[in-house]
Symmetry: C2
Subunit: 383 residues, 2 copies
C-alpha cells in the first residue's frame, strides 16, 4: 500500500500478513512436492497440509477430516450448495447473500428469506420460506454490504425444530444449514457447535491470508455430490494438486485472526464509533445495517440522491479508498440486490458508501478520511 493512501475497503480485500507469508514461503520452492507423491518430500508436503487442516479444525472445534481446502470461498460455497442441490430439492437463501451464493442457486429452485431494513434476517423470516422439500438454507454469518451479523445460532435452532417436525410427519427430506463466513472469518466466532451450522465456508483472503484459498467445513455424515470428478483430492470434492503453501497460509491467517479477534474487534469498534461521530455531521447521512449486530469495522451509510460513484472517484484522488458496495465483477454497473432487499430506493442505493476498517487502520487515518469524505460530498453538492 502506498504510504499516502488510506485504505478503508478491508471487506473487499486484505493484505497478506507478513507472518502468514513467512509460514507459506517454505512451501513455494523448498517443500514444493506433490502431497500425493510416495517419497519423503511428498510426505513432508502431506504433513504440512494435514497440519494446516488440523489448525483450521481447532479453530472450528471440529474434526480435521471434515475440513476441506478449496480455491476460495466462492468455490467452497459452490461445493456446498451445488453438492447438496444436485440430488434435488429447494434452497432457501438470505435476501442479502453475496453473488457467490445467488449464483449457485440460479440453476435450482430457490426461495428468498427476507431481511428487515437493517439487513437482519430473523429465524421467522427463514421459517416462512422453508417448504417440505427444502434441503438447504444458506445465510451468511454477516453480509458483505451492510456487515449485519445474522442470528445464525437461532436460525440453526429453528431448523432443528423443522427437522423434528419432519421426522414426526415422516418427511425424510434432509435439511441443512450452510453459512457463508467470508466476511466474518477474521472477526466472528467460528466454533461450529456454537453456530449450529452444518456447512461453513471460510475465506482466507478476507482475513490477511492468501487469495483464492478457502475452507469448507462439512458436518460428519453429510454427503456432497462433487461438482466434477478428477484426481480425487480433498475427499473427492476439490480435485487438483493441493496448494500446500496456500493451505498453510490459510490456516495461519484464520488462527491468527481468531486469536487476535477479541482485542482487534474492540479496537475496530472504537475506531468505527469515532468515524461515525465525524460522519454524522454530514447533512442527510443515514447509517445502514444493524445498529448493534454488525461487523466491528464495517460501516455502511447512504445519502439519498448522492452520486456515490463520483464521491469515490474524488476520494480516490485524495488517496482514500472506499467502496460503493461489494467489489465484485457481477456488480459492475448494477446495484447490489442487497440494497433493494433492505428497502432502499434507487436514490438511496446509489448514494451508498461502504467503509470497512482493518488491522492497519488508525484514528489519524480516519480523521483525514472523514475530512476528505465530507469535502467530497460537499463538492458533489456544489457547496
Amino acid at each position: 500500500m502506498s504510504q499516502e493512501s488510506i485504505y478503508l475497503d478491508y471487506a473487499a480485500a486484505t493484505p497478506l500478513d507478513s507472518t502468514v507469508l513467512e509460514a507459506m514461503i517454505l512451501y513455494f520452492s523448498d517443500v514444493f512436492y506433490n502431497p500425493s507423491a510416495p517419497y519423503e518430500g511428498g510426505r513432508l508436503a502431506r504433513d504440512a497440509l494435514e497440519s494446516a487442516r488440523s489448525e483450521v479444525a481447532q479453530v472450528l472445534g471440529a474434526k480435521s477430516t471434515n475440513v476441506i481446502f478449496t480455491a476460495g470461498a466462492t468455490e467452497s460455497i459452490q461445493i456446498a450448495l451445488v453438492g447438496l442441490l444436485k440430488s434435488g430439492g429447494y434452497a432457501v437463501i438470505g435476501a442479502t447473500e453475496h453473488a457467490a451464493v445467488r449464483g449457485c442457486v440460479r440453476d435450482f429452485p430457490s426461495r428468498i428469506a427476507l431481511a428487515d431494513n437493517r439487513g437482519y434476517i430473523t429465524p421467522e423470516s427463514v421459517r416462512k420460506v422453508i417448504q417440505d422439500d427444502t434441503v438447504v438454507v444458506s445465510i451468511a454469518l454477516a453480509d458483505s454490504e451492510f456487515g449485519t451479523v445474522q442470528p445464525i445460532a437461532d436460525i440453526a435452532h429453528m431448523i432443528n425444530l423443522v427437522r423434528h417436525d419432519r421426522r414426526e410427519k415422516g418427511n425424510k427430506t434432509p435439511l441443512y444449514l450452510h453459512s457463508d463466513g467470508s466476511q466474518a472469518t477474521g472477526s466472528l466466532e467460528l466454533k461450529t457447535s456454537r453456530l449450529g451450522v452444518d456447512l461453513l465456508s471460510l475465506n482466507a483472503s478476507k482475513c490477511y491470508g492468501p487469495k483464492q484459498v478457502g475452507v469448507l467445513w462439512v458436518r460428519n455424515g453429510i454427503v456432497l455430490e462433487p461438482l466434477v470428478s478428477g484426481g480425487g483430492q480433498e475427499r473427492g470434492l476439490r480435485s487438483g494438486t493441493e496448494n500446500v503453501a496456500g493451505a498453510v497460509g490459510c490456516a495461519k491467517a484464520i488462527s491468527m485472526a481468531q486469536t487476535m479477534r477479541y482485542d482487534e474487534n474492540r479496537r475496530l469498534q472504537e475506531l468505527r464509533t469515532y468515524l461515525l461521530q465525524q460522519l454524522e455531521q454530514i447533512d442527510g447521512l443515514v447509517v445502514d445495517g444493524h445498529p448493534k449486530k454488525h461487523l466491528p469495522g464495517h460501516l455502511h451509510v447512504h445519502i439519498s440522491g448522492l452520486d456515490s460513484e463520483r464521491v469515490i472517484y474524488r476520494l480516490d484522488i485524495d488517496g482514500v479508498y472506499i467502496a460503493t458496495g461489494a467489489a465484485c465483477a457481477a456488480n459492475k454497473g448494477k446495484r447490489n440486490p442487497a440494497l433493494e432487499a433492505v428497502g432502499m430506493t434507487p436514490a438511496e442505493a446509489d448514494g451508498s458508501l461502504r467503509i470497512s476498517l482493518g488491522r492497519s487502520t488508525t484514528k489519524q487515518q480516519l480523521e483525514i478520511a472523514a475530512r476528505a469524505i465530507k469535502r467530497a460530498i460537499d463538492l458533489e453538492r456544489g457547496l
Copy 2:
C-alpha cells in the same frame, strides 16, 4: 529441497522459481487490492492481472481476451469440457488422459480414442470414435504417464475435415478440440495456431510457477456454459476474487519456460539419454512411451514382475525421489488406466517407474540416481 536428496519427479511438481516468486511478491501485501475495486489500488491490481493475461496471450500467439486464469489445470479442463458438454453431445478422450479429463466426462456420454503401445494416439484412432453428435475431442499435448507427445496438429487437421464433412451433410453439431497441456506447458510449442486446438489448458505448477493456478485459452466465438455462476470474474467462467499474485506468477513462469525451452529441452534430452544408457544395463528393463516423440526430460520404464513401489521406497531411503506413475490421489492403490491402455500386463504395469528430469537436474545427480536405482532393483531381486 534438502541438499542430499535427488528429485526426479518434475512431472508431479516443480519448485517455484525464485524469479517467479519475486514477480509475485509485490501482489501479496502491497498491491493486494481487489481488481474489481474502483480506486487506484484496484486499478493497479487489475492492470497487473491484465498484463499477466497479455503475457500468456503472447506466448500462445492469441488475443488476451481469450485467456482465462483458473485455479489450476484441473479446473481449466473442467471449465472447458463440462462447459461444452453441458448442452449435450458426446465427448472423445484419449486412452491415456489424466484423471482430470477422465473425471470430467464421467457424467457425460464419451468414447475413448485408443493409443498404440507407445501411448501414441493417431488422428485415425481419434477419427474412428468420432460420431455425428461428438462435440468435443480432448487429447493431451503429452500424457503424464509416458510423456508421449501427441500429433495434435494432425488431429486438429483431421477434425477440420470432419467439420467440413458435417457442413456438407448439413450436420450443424459443432466439434471442438481441447488439449490438456499440463505436462507440456514448460517444454512444448504453445502457439495455438500451430497446434490447431480450439481450447487449451495450461498448468503453472508444472513449469516452476505457483500451485493451483492455471490457464484456459478458448478460441474466439466458442461459448462455454459456466459450471456455476457467481461474482462473474474471468468472463463469468471462474467466479471469485482474482488471485493477482498467482496470475502474475503463472504468466511469468510460462513465458520464462517458453523462452528457455530450446536450450533447456536439449539439455534435458541429453541428460535423459545419459540416464537411459545407465539404466539399459539393467536386465529386463523396457523403455515405454514413444522412442522419439516424448517430453525431453521424461523417462518411463518397466521391468515385468518387479514391485516398483518397493523400489521407490528403497530409493526414498537413499534420497532419490521418483514415481510409480501420475502422483494423484485418484491413483492411490489403483493402477493408472494409461498403463493398461498401452497394452501392459498387470505385472508390467506394477513394475513401472516414471523418472522426470527438470531444471536442477545434473549429470552427477543422474549418475548417483542410476546407481541407486540399479542397487534397489538388485536388492528387490534378491541379488
